[in-house]
């Protein structure tokens, strides 16, 4: 445990956010450090995806602020945040299915580099890192398998040479063995100095590789501590069952 903490590369400070007048997040604060993996857990509807969408700018925070490299980006458009070094891999592999693998990679790099030649060179670096993408560079993204699409989605995000990466359930719909591969890649990214915020439902696997764990329950942070301080997964299961909400006794059945 270090006593001196680096500055977070990404920080949300008590954000409230939602869709229309459906408020999902209630004062959520999350932090990501360079070279470390922060994992965001919670059951469905807890607000994990909403948090990522608000960080990326797709959803507007109605209160609180989002800070990227210490700078307040709460009012910036998503495309501007990308330019500052943020990359977001959405849930369900939101690739451009009708475009080829190569075109998807080129589109990924648009935020940082211009010029097809520079982008092609970077794509080449991705093919070295993910050989299977190189083999299928002319296939349409929609024709790849689930695991390959996930890899493409991550590679596409990396084309922008981000310093902060948001990953939303990369294991979704994938067989356990592919999940292991994907999470191994995530682990490697830390070594590149990337700050990674990973949202997962597969809590056990994620906690195993995490440096920091945050658990949401109906839009509120209920656990927020370094992974090393998590005693057992039961602690997290407790939160999923709503254990942190006060509940009145069940109403008695009216007599009929």
């Amino acid at each position: 445990m270090t006593s001196l903490r680096d500055e977070p590369v990404l920080e949300t400070v008590r954000i409230c956010s939602g869709y229309g007048d459906i408020q999902v997040l209630r004062e959520v604060s999350v932090r990501v450090w360079p070279g470390r993996l922060s994992v965001l857990l919670g059951s469905n509807g807890a607000g994990k995806t909403t948090t990522l969408r608000t960080v990326s700018g797709l959803n507007r925070a109605t209160a609180g602020s989002v800070r990227l490299f210490g700078r307040d980006v709460t009012k910036l458009a998503p495309s501007d945040r990308v330019r500052l070094g943020l990359a977001y891999v959405m849930e369900g592999k939101r690739l451009f299915h009708r475009r080829t693998v190569e075109e998807n990679l080129l589109l990924g790099g648009y935020g940082k580099a211009r010029g097809r030649r520079a982008l092609r060179r970077q794509a080449g670096a991705m093919y070295e890192r993910f050989p299977v993408l190189g083999e299928r560079r002319r296939s349409r993204a929609g024709e790849l398998s689930g695991g390959q699409q996930q890899m493409l989605a991550i590679a596409q995000a990396l084309m922008a040479q981000p310093r902060v990466l948001l990953l939303d359930e990369p294991s979704g719909g994938l067989a356990p063995i592919i999940v292991k591969q994907v999470l191994a890649i995530v682990d490697e990214l830390k070594a590149d100095g990337l700050g990674v915020l990973l949202v997962e439902q597969a809590a056990e696997e994620a906690v195993r590789i995490a440096d920091h764990v945050t658990v949401l329950d109906v839009g509120r942070v209920v656990i927020d501590k370094p992974a090393a301080e998590i005693e057992s997964v039961a602690e997290i299961q407790h939160a999923y069952l709503g254990g942190y909400r006060s509940k009145p006794p069940r109403s008695s059945l009216p007599l009929l």
């Binding site: 939602g18 229309g20 007048d21 459906i22 408020q23 999902v24 857990l41 059951s43 469905n44 509807g45 979704g172 719909g173 997962e200 439902q201 597969a202 809590a203 056990e204 696997e205 994620a206 109906v218 057992s232 997964v233 039961a234 997290i236 299961q237 407790h238 999923y240 069952l241 709503g242 254990g243 942190y244 909400r245 006060s246 509940k247 009145p248 069940r250 109403s251 059945l253 009216p254 009929l256």
Partner: protein, 618 residues
């Protein structure tokens, strides 16, 4: 004095105005204004036809001008060749309008949006070609000339009498129009406009209702044709002229100007465009520019037109004059609720080995489930597990690939959604679907459209059955509002309420329909703890009243609290089912849904998970 005026029913005012209008020629109105007013009535009729299809049913079908032409030619042809009797002319034109309206409305059942707008525009462009093709009857580009004046019982009408005829027929139509849109059918059309899915789920057959709207919308256009033909005594397809795109656009502009769901707005919009500095009938070179400007201005800024503006101003004026303490819009959002009384005749819902594939993806694989009346059956599972797919299949929105779905032993397979709803299956939606332009009480009453149906003619003619239906609707609505605790919001606009209230409105709408089976689709999402607790009580009461309640949920706490039996879905399969106590500790549930393995669990010494969770500090 003002108070006494306000107590007079609102409908008297338009009738008085109509009577005044009718008497104008005998008060000295010149022939020029005589003609302009008849043309205004004609335009208002066209606008009301557009309002029915666009404002109410939500479809931009702009073919009114084509039917206008049909009405004019039919009336002119009959007057020239058969008889100039007024009734024959009118009836023939209306009949022709209905037929053409139905035929041209048929593509509108399948199309929507731009496709429908373009297709209907095309109809207007075809008028000159059709006139030429049917030259034998229409006399081609020369047109029908010298149409004799209409006769009533053999006597030809002079221009003042014709004017009176126009005012009377216009008033009659607008009375029909008003009675229609203020009845259940008008509300059903607003539901249809908001969402055909919602309409189906309330038991409203989308296609029949759309066809009726198109057919009815054609009638005033036919009448307008009669008025035009017999005013000018001349019908031709020339451009500039009455049967052109310019007129169609003017109709749209007048509709948007007056407010596309307003009855009197049609008259106001028509009056502004016809009688204003533009004089629409002179087809001068400024018409298009002004129409275009109006359309953009009102489309962007005042999308509900002058009538919307005036009703908002009236509401603000009323609120200012109301007693202090009432009338602030920051109303108490929670009032006490009453318990649900009465019985629901629930029936068992059986889902047997149901499978569903979309393309290459299997959404559901041999899922079986049984929901009993008097019980709350919950369905939980992660995103993509198939919960919503199953719900949509029960409601009839997706076809079964395999398996059976039965209600009380009767198969629901292959039934369209509105038939499933008519069988007594009611549902809520993940995001509440509330039509625009209705109060909370009116929205709740729409739940009864199919279950307590009155025919359109009955409503239009205001027969006793209509009033009985209105009274029953009001009573059912107020009971339902009491159960959900939102009676104090009955007269407020429904669509602008906050999410928690809109969820309650959906629940009240469902309660008012007295369903046999109730499907709740993630109603707890986005609500705070108090709101979730209230909903939980209502869910339990619906079950205790005898209904079959199915709860699709993410909120595990709510499910554990209210469910009698829980089914857990993952990857399209049922991985576990049983009572709450079993499910919360079930290894498959923990693995699939919570992502933890059973071995990783270490129970807190001396307590089970259940006891631990109840001991948490408030």
């Amino acid at each position: 004095m003002l108070a006494r005026i306000r107590r007079v029913p609102f409908t008297v005012i338009p009738l008085v105005l109509a009577a005044l209008l009718a008497l104008l020629p005998w008060l000295g109105l010149g022939i020029y204004w005589n003609q302009e007013i008849v043309l205004t009535i004609g335009l208002a009729l066209l606008v009301s036809g557009l309002n029915l299809s666009f404002g109410y049913a939500g479809e931009l079908a702009l073919g009114q001008v084509a039917i206008y032409a049909v009405g004019a030619y039919v009336s002119g042809y009959i007057a020239l060749n058969l008889t100039s009797d007024l009734f024959v002319s009118l009836l023939a034109a209306i009949a022709a309008a209905l037929v053409i309206g139905l035929i041209s409305g048929y593509p509108g059942l399948r199309l929507g949006g731009w496709a429908l707008a373009m297709t209907s525009f095309f109809l207007v462009l075809l008028v000159p070609d059709l006139v030429n093709i049917f030259q034998k009857y229409t006399n081609g580009t020369i047109g029908l000339v010298g149409i004799p004046p209409l006769t009533l019982f053999g006597q030809p009408l002079d221009s003042n009498q014709y004017y009176l005829f126009a005012v009377i027929i216009g008033t009659l139509w607008f009375a029909v129009f008003r009675n229609l849109v203020t009845s259940r059918h008008g509300k059903a059309l607003l539901v249809l406009r908001r969402s055909p899915v919602l309409a189906s789920s309330l038991g409203i057959g989308v296609r029949p209702l759309k066809l009726k709207a198109y057919a009815l919308g054609a009638v005033p256009c036919g009448i307008a044709g009669v008025l035009f033909a017999n005013l000018e005594h001349f019908v031709s397809p020339a451009n500039p002229g009455p049967f052109t795109i310019t007129t169609a656009i003017a109709v749209l502009a007048a509709s948007v100007l007056g407010g596309s769901t307003s009855v009197y707005g049609a008259l106001a919009g028509a009056a502004v465009l016809q009688l204003g500095p533009l004089r629409l009938s002179s087809f001068n070179q400024y018409t298009d520019a002004v129409d275009g400007a109006f359309l953009i201005l009102f489309g962007v800024l005042l999308s509900d037109g002058l009538s919307g503006l005036s009703s908002r101003l009236a509401a603000r004026w009323q609120r200012r004059r109301a007693a202090p303490g009432v009338g602030s819009t920051a109303l108490e959002s929670r009032a006490g609720r009453e318990q649900l009384a009465g019985r629901l005749s629930g029936a068992p819902l059986e889902v047997d080995s149901v499978s569903k594939r979309f393309g290459g993806v299997t959404a559901l694989s041999e899922v079986s489930l049984r929901a009993e009346p008097g019980k709350v059956t919950a369905l939980i599972g992660p995103n993509g597990s198939g919960k919503t797919t199953l719900l949509n299949m029960v409601c009839g929105f997706y076809k079964l690939d395999q398996g059976k779905i039965g209600l009380d032993g009767v198969s629901l397979a292959g039934r369209s959604p509105h038939k499933v709803a008519a069988a007594g299956v009611a549902r809520t939606f993940q995001t509440p679907i509330i039509p625009k332009g209705l109060t909370v009480a009116e929205t709740v009453a729409t739940g009864r459209y199919a279950t307590a149906y009155t025919a359109m003619p009955t409503s239009v003619l205001r027969l006793p059955a209509h009033w009985r239906g209105q009274r029953a609707d009001r009573q059912a609505a107020s009971r339902a509002l009491a159960v959900t605790g939102i009676s104090h919001l009955a007269t407020e606009d429904a669509e602008s309420q906050p999410l928690g209230i809109r969820r309650l409105i959906e629940v009240a709408r469902l309660v008012a329909a007295e369903p046999r089976v109730v499907l709740f689709d993630e109603i707890a999402a986005g609500l705070d703890d108090d709101e979730v607790r209230d909903l939980g009580e209502i869910v339990r009461e619906l079950a205790s009243a005898g209904g079959t309640v199915i709860l699709v949920e993410h909120n595990f706490g709510l499910v554990l609290d209210v469910a009698d039996e829980i089914y857990v879905l993952a990857n399209g399969r049922v991985v576990a089912f049983g009572p709450p106590a079993e499910i919360r500790a079930h290894p498959a549930v923990l693995r699939e849904y919570l992502g933890v393995s059973a071995e990783a669990l270490e129970p807190v010494p001396g307590q089970t998970a259940t006891e631990a969770h109840h001991d948490q500090p408030a």
